[in-house]
């Protein structure tokens, strides 16, 4: 069965102007999110995960930020061609966001019920009473008693606040939710509760989701597809099973090896040498080449293109490009 594409990003590039040059935050990024699919977006600090999310929502502050190239096709329409006014009606209604820090993403001076009502009144044609009723239902959906709708955010714990944020994001039944590190600020047992809730809601509502995280464990729990980001680009994209069982890119492999494992005793962790490149640096070849143990001459000179290892598995690496080419030539 061919799934319908909900979001397709083509050759997206985003830059920021800073004092000592230009930061290349996102470079030639290609991605697809299908209907009802959860995409995990994994990378280290500064890899451009959040910038990509902001670009999808057209929330890149300009200046200094600029989307220099590309298309973001959502539900058949290019979001980059939309006016600010059109975007405002899309955000919250069709695309909504869950932020990392539930402590700061709620308005401390409004009751949580009112914060959901605000969203509903803006995007749906309902009156206040209906909106309040819907808000209470939303709270129940995320596991909060309706009596608490009149409470303020400070009366909730961290995990409960994140539930409220999820309720707000879901209020208008969006087609796509972008969750930026939704559980990073929470303790493990609370994180497990919130992940459980998100997985439940995903099945119940069938919303597509982009989950931004640095934790490969969380991706394994909830995602269908995974994109690994490095220095502003996706280096590998695959279904969860393929990525975890047969990682291809040297960076992906290194990432897996540097996590301490619970089921294996090992004396030393495998390290990836060095550090990610400065985002102002222009690297002529593959961005990972200075740290790559399998670096070849060509890696330092040219940027690798996309090589498909399978229908739903691509990698940007010359190791595989060569193989593919070599195979074709023979």
């Amino acid at each position: 069965m061919e799934e319908k594409k909900l979001l397709e990003i083509k050759d997206l590039s985003v830059t920021y102007k800073v004092e000592d040059g230009i930061v290349y935050a996102v470079n030639d990024l290609n991605l697809v999110v299908h209907n009802k699919e959860t995409l995990g977006f994994v990378g280290e600090t500064g890899a451009g995960k959040t910038t990509t999310a902001m670009a999808i929502m057209r929330l890149i502050p300009s200046p200094p930020g600029e989307i220099t190239k590309g298309q973001i096709i959502f539900d058949g329409e290019d979001l980059l061609q939309k006016s600010q006014r059109q975007m405002r009606s899309i955000l919250g209604q069709d695309i909504s966001m869950i932020f990392q820090d539930p402590m700061t993403s709620l308005n401390p001076a409004m009751t949580v019920g009112d914060q959901i009502v605000e969203m509903l009144l803006l995007h749906k044609s309902v009156n206040k009473k209906q909106a309040w009723e819907e808000a209470c239902q939303m709270l129940e959906l995320v596991g909060i008693k309706r009596e608490r709708a009149k409470d303020y955010p400070h009366q909730f714990s961290g995990g409960m606040k994140q539930r409220v944020v999820i309720a707000i994001a879901l209020a208008c039944s969006p087609k796509l939710i972008i969750a930026d590190e939704p559980t990073t600020a929470l303790d493990v047992t609370i994180q497990a509760q919130v992940m459980d809730l998100m997985r439940d809601l995903k099945h119940k509502l069938g919303t597509s989701m982009i989950l931004i995280t640095h934790d490969l464990g969380i991706v394994a729990e909830i995602c269908d597809k995974v994109a690994i980001m490095y220095a502003g680009g996706v280096v590998e994209y695959a279904s969860k099973e393929k990525l975890y069982n047969e990682p291809a890119h040297p960076y992906t492999k290194g990432l897996f090896n540097s996590i301490p494992k619970l089921d294996v005793d090992e004396e030393w962790l495998e390290e990836i040498d060095g550090l990610p490149p400065e985002p102002t640096e222009v690297i002529p070849g593959c961005a990972f080449s200075p740290r790559c143990s399998k670096c070849m001459e060509i890696c330092k000179q040219k940027k690798p293109g996309i090589t498909y290892l399978d229908d739903d598995h691509y990698v940007r690496c010359f190791l595989y490009e060569k193989q593919a080419e070599g195979g074709a030539a023979e």
Binding site: V188, T189, A192, G217, A220, L255, P260, K261, I272
Partner: protein, 319 residues
């Protein structure tokens, strides 16, 4: 036979707050052998950092004994404590806020040396020691005049480690030393800590909320919940066969980076960690425990040795 370096008996630290007493650390007893790493895990607010800080007297305990090489350091006066501090140092969680932004790397690493008479007046000696330390922790010497804002998180944490090592301590309290670092950098720093431990025969108290990191680095692990140790044993026992219901839940809550991890059985705890202010009688975990009985709400379980070296505080666990 292994030698006890640290022995803690009935350590208590309460903070006065508006509503009563906050039981941050409530009657802890444990020991750390020379050269070993004791991992201390628990969720935020369970008292792990307070334990670490009380242990080296950065904050004063209310009650209890802290024996370091047999000597109770709670009885030391100010001057003696200052000398004693050379033996125990701390590495903090956040390398962004634990380094003075107005000092360069040389100043930062040499600062602790100024308390030692042999270095205080010998600039050459200080310089040699600082460069030696930079080599030890893996910071390139050309960065000696750089300021913290010029460094990334991993290098900053290396500076923090170099500072702690400067005075040749025997014991280090590592308070979430890798929590704010990316996984690849985290691996580098963990390996560094292990290498240093072997090289200098260091003893660690490793505080973290990340069980996979703690498992990797520790010999024994203590699990804390609301100011109490609920389980303490060597790391393989804890991970293979956790006895306390809280440990079981904690372990099953860790997201595992494997494709089929969503299918495994998980214990999802209900509710939040209760407030440590005026905690209720009985087992502190009872309110969230799936096995709680009447007895658990009334009588507090003591930490008992159920097998040699395995301690657990739970009424349910027989033996």
């Amino acid at each position: 036979m292994s030698e006890r370096l640290i022995e803690v008996n009935h350590l208590k630290k309460y903070f006065k707050v508006n509503k009563g007493l906050l039981h941050a650390v409530d009657d802890l007893s444990f020991y750390i052998d020379r050269g070993e790493t004791l991992g201390l895990v628990g969720e935020s607010g369970c008292g792990k950092s307070t334990t670490g800080r009380t242990l080296i007297r950065l904050i004063e305990a209310n009650e209890g004994e802290i024996l370091f090489n047999g000597e109770d350091i709670r009885k030391l006066d100010k001057q003696k404590l200052k000398d004693f501090r050379q033996n125990m140092q701390m590495v903090f969680q956040d390398p962004y806020s634990s380094l003075n932004p107005r000092l360069n790397i040389f100043d930062l690493i040499s600062e602790p040396l100024m308390n030692i008479p042999e270095y205080a007046h010998d600039k050459k000696k200080v310089y040699d020691r600082v460069t030696e330390l930079m080599d030890t922790v893996g910071i390139s010497r050309r960065l000696i005049n750089s300021y913290p804002h010029e460094l990334d998180g991993g290098r900053r944490q290396r500076v923090g480690i170099a500072r702690a090592l400067a005075v040749n301590p025997e014991f280090l309290v590592l308070d979430e030393p890798v929590s704010s670092l990316d996984v690849c950098i985290q691996a580098q720093v963990i390996n560094l800590l292990k290498r240093l431990q072997q090289e200098f025969k260091l003893t660690y108290l490793f505080i973290s909320h990340d069980l996979s990191v703690v498992k990797h680095i520790s010999n024994r692990i203590a699990v804390m919940y609301l100011g109490k140790i609920v389980e303490l044993s060597n790391r393989n026992d804890i991970f293979r066969d956790p006895l306390h219901p809280y440990t079981q839940a904690l372990l099953s809550a860790i997201p595992i980076p494997k494709a089929d991890s969503a299918e495994r059985h998980r214990i999802i705890l209900k509710g939040d960690v209760p407030s440590p202010v005026n905690p209720p009688a009985g087992c502190r975990f009872a309110g969230r425990c799936p096995y709680a009985t009447e007895k658990c709400f009334q009588e507090e379980p003591a930490l008992r040795e159920v097998e040699p070296g395995r301690f657990v505080a739970c009424h349910k666990v027989e033996k």
